[in-house]
Amino acid sequence: MSAAQPAPTSTQAPSSARPPVTLGQTTHLDPGAYVRGTHGITLGEQTLVHPRAQLVAVHGPLSIGDRCIISEKCVIGGPVATDKPSEGPEGAGRGAGGSGSDESDPVKTTIHSRVYVHANAHVLAGAVIKEAVVIEPHVTVRAGVTVGSHAKICAGVTVDRDVDDWAVVYGNGDLKRQRRRKRDQSETEHAELVETMRLKAMDKEREGTMAILKMAARTATLAKKK
């Protein structure tokens, strides 16, 4: 994997070999990240993509919302190995409870805002990740699966079916709990309060890391020019 370093010159102007990437003004797509495929990739505002993360637009377009963190060694829109989107339609077809909008041949992969994808997680083509979801290391989200907003997929779990809003999937993927119960008013408030604290902390982390990575990228390009 390390051999295939593309080393693009600028984050704002993708070269001709790379897919068309639309970036928000304040978004940092690290030059060390891998971008491939032919379909369009859209990134929202203030999103951070770590070096060595892979954005794959082979199977279809990729859309990532605002204020997300995509950590290193993540694969978004995979699998990488196959050139044809053979995996995509199969997954999209059985994702009956999901968005259902991805019936066409190129499979769209959507990550909504404030999603935190940890290192080495795989989000396969056709998956939909809603707002403020946490995806922990070594998680695989199968094609066509919709992960509800504020859900958390704990480390190592493979998600092969839709996940409710505010759900936590842990253990071997067979354990699930609801962070917020619908009937309980005070509980809903509590869960939202704690979630706000978590998102605040995540924003802080993202801003800090972004500053460091931006500086590192700048230093690297300067060194190359010399």
Binding site: K152, C154, V168, G171, K176, E187, H190, M197
Partner: protein, 573 residues
């Protein structure tokens, strides 16, 4: 067995009862000879049901320098040096531990949902709170059960005083941690017959059903106990043979045993007594006496609980004991965060001579040992691999696949013994020509007696010897001649072990016992060496033990023999 092939187990000599009796008089030479003869006579059978209790991986064994014996976990005694919390690494003084119910008295808690460690976080101002305990794994927090804290320290004390929902726990319940540890130590005998039933209801359901006296499980236990004690006191006034002390009866005391035996032997009188008692004693009736109607609580808790809101068996098990957690929780909202269980640092002593075998560093944050006499520093480390011949077995791969041997076909293995001692040792290996058990596999050790060099400095060895010595030389070494070593190095020697597996014949219907096809070879290892650096050794022992054993004349001769079991592989069948 659990280990991949080939594996080595060592049988601790303590399993041999006759031997244990003899070793106490180890000064006598005759006894030693007797022992050796007796040991040679009966071959150790690794398949004997008893053997499973004496076989240990060599890494688990210790060595006593006083008794010159291998020591297994069964022949050591343990003593607690320190009790500490594994999460915050604070040590609790011994006198406090019991009052703290063996759990961290500070801020350490574990999640009742997923059991991972919880952290204290602020949900308001970072300094002044309020604070909650939050599980970073499953995102459960104490707000889910309506608990938040005013201070970020002393969480344990705050949790103990709070019921789920944030209300103060009833005043009758002094938190067990603040001094009242009795319920934990009660013997089952001292519990009144009704008391087990009281645990069956959820305390919070009871809170609602009996508004006047909101007692929780612990308080109710105490109320019931007090009530029945009173009842017994009253009834014992008329029945002298049933004293009040029966309530606090201890099984260990001979007088109470006598009393129990009397109850059983004089059945007539006890029957009469019980009839008598029935008329005098009454059961608890009011809630202040700890009484509660179960029907009410079931009525309250039964309507429409989501399946997602119910607790799992393991979650309930994690809530034990009942005076800290809530093992009867039906809903997840009834679960309590559990304070971290304390851990201990222990030192081990030889059970026969009290010599210290291991002693951990007293500093909690250090994982090192100050003394650790592991057996592998005294006995040779044994490795086994197939003889590299064309058509022979391949070296085992680390994936743990079984080694399968063809029946009737001789297979050679190289057994290498590495000497950890700083003195030359002479080794003799004895093994039965046919392994014990139903399927006798034929075994031959081509060179059963040899010496292995001392574990000297590796650099000395490299300087004194040409570099190619000690490595396998196909011309000179690698011989499979009886009485000759296969190969030899600075502190190691290899011998060839030949095995002819017996074929396992079975009837059509007969099933093999579990692991019946495994070839396990018992080998008697006998080591003899002379400690040359005796003064240093003695000094060290004196320092370790603070013992003056100047009169015990030590000629430095050491002798050690034990049974080793080698698991080679399976027979194809």
């Amino acid at each position: 067995m659990a280990l991949p092939f080939p594996y080595i187990y060592i049988s601790c000599p303590c399993s041999d009862a006759s031997r244990r009796a003899l070793t106490s008089k180890r000064s006598s030479r005759d006894v030693d000879i007797d022992r050796a003869m007796q040991d040679d006579e009966d071959t150790f059978d690794p398949r004997h049901p008893r053997s499973a209790f004496s076989l240990f991986p060599p890494e688990h064994l210790l060595y006593c320098e006083e008794c010159h014996e291998i020591k297994c976990p069964r022949c050591v005694t343990e003593e607690i040096n320190a009790t500490y919390c594994p999460d915050c690494l604070f040590e609790s003084p011994k006198v406090m531990v019991r009052g703290e119910l063996n759990r961290c008295p500070r801020n350490c808690f574990h999640c009742p949902i997923c059991t991972s460690q919880m952290i204290t976080t602020s949900i308001g101002d970072p300094k002044s709170g309020p604070f909650v305990l939050n599980c970073n794994y499953c995102m459960w927090n104490t707000l889910d059960v309506g608990i938040k804290f005013d201070k970020a320290i002393g969480i344990r004390g705050q949790v103990d005083e709070m019921a789920n929902g944030g209300k103060q726990r009833p005043a009758t319940l002094k938190s067990p941690y603040s001094g009242q540890a009795e319920p934990a130590r009660k013997s089952s005998l001292s519990q009144t017959p009704l008391s087990p039933g009281h645990q069956d209801e959820a305390p919070d359901a009871m809170d609602r059903s009996v508004p006047g006296a909101p007692l929780d499980a612990t308080a109710r236990f105490n109320a019931l106990r007090a009530f029945y004690k009173e009842q017994i006191t009253d009834s014992s006034a008329t029945d002298a043979s049933f004293p009040t002390s029966a309530l606090d009866m201890a099984y260990s005391s001979p007088s109470s045993l006598q009393r129990i035996m009397n109850i059983y032997t004089n059945r007539d009188s006890s029957a009469k007594r019980s009839r008598q008692k029935l008329t005098i004693m009454r059961e608890a009736r009011t809630s202040s006496e700890g009484f509660i109607l179960t029907t009410e609580s079931t009525k309250v808790s039964s309507p429409s609980i989501d399946y997602d809101e119910t607790t799992t068996a393991s979650q309930r098990a994690f809530q034990h004991p009942s005076f800290i957690g809530n093992p009867d929780a039906v809903k997840v909202s009834e679960l309590r965060p559990m304070p971290t269980l304390m851990r201990t640092k222990r030192s081990k002593r030889c059970a026969t001579c009290k010599h210290i075998l291991t002693r951990p560093d007293l500093k909690i944050s250090s994982a090192r040992y100050r003394i650790k006499l592991i057996a592998l520093n005294y006995i040779p480390f044994v490795t086994i691999k197939p003889l590299p011949v064309p058509g022979g077995l391949l070296a085992p791969v680390p994936d743990g696949a079984d080694v399968v041997l063809a029946p009737g076909k001789p297979v050679q293995f190289i057994m290498t013994l590495r000497n950890p001692l700083f003195d030359d040792a002479s080794v003799s290996l004895g093994c039965p020509s046919v392994t014990p058990g139903r399927h006798g596999h034929r075994v031959t050790i081509l060179c059963p007696q040899f010496r292995i060099g001392k574990n000297s400095d590796a650099w000395d060895d490299a300087l004194n010897n040409p570099p190619d010595r000690g490595t396998l030389n196909p011309a000179a070494g690698g011989e499979q001649i009886a009485g000759k070593l296969y190969d030899q190095g600075r502190n190691w020697a290899s011998v060839v072990l030949e095995i002819v597996p017996a074929s396992i014949v079975r009837q059509q219907s007969a099933e093999l016992d579990e692991d019946e096809d495994v070839i396990e070879i018992p080998i008697r290892v006998r080591l003899e060496w002379t400690v040359t650096d005796l003064d240093a050794g003695l000094e060290r022992r004196k320092r370790d033990k603070g013992l003056d054993d100047g009169e015990d004349v030590d000629d430095g001769k050491r002798e050690l023999s034990y049974w080793m079991v080698v698991g080679i592989g399976r027979v194809a069948c």
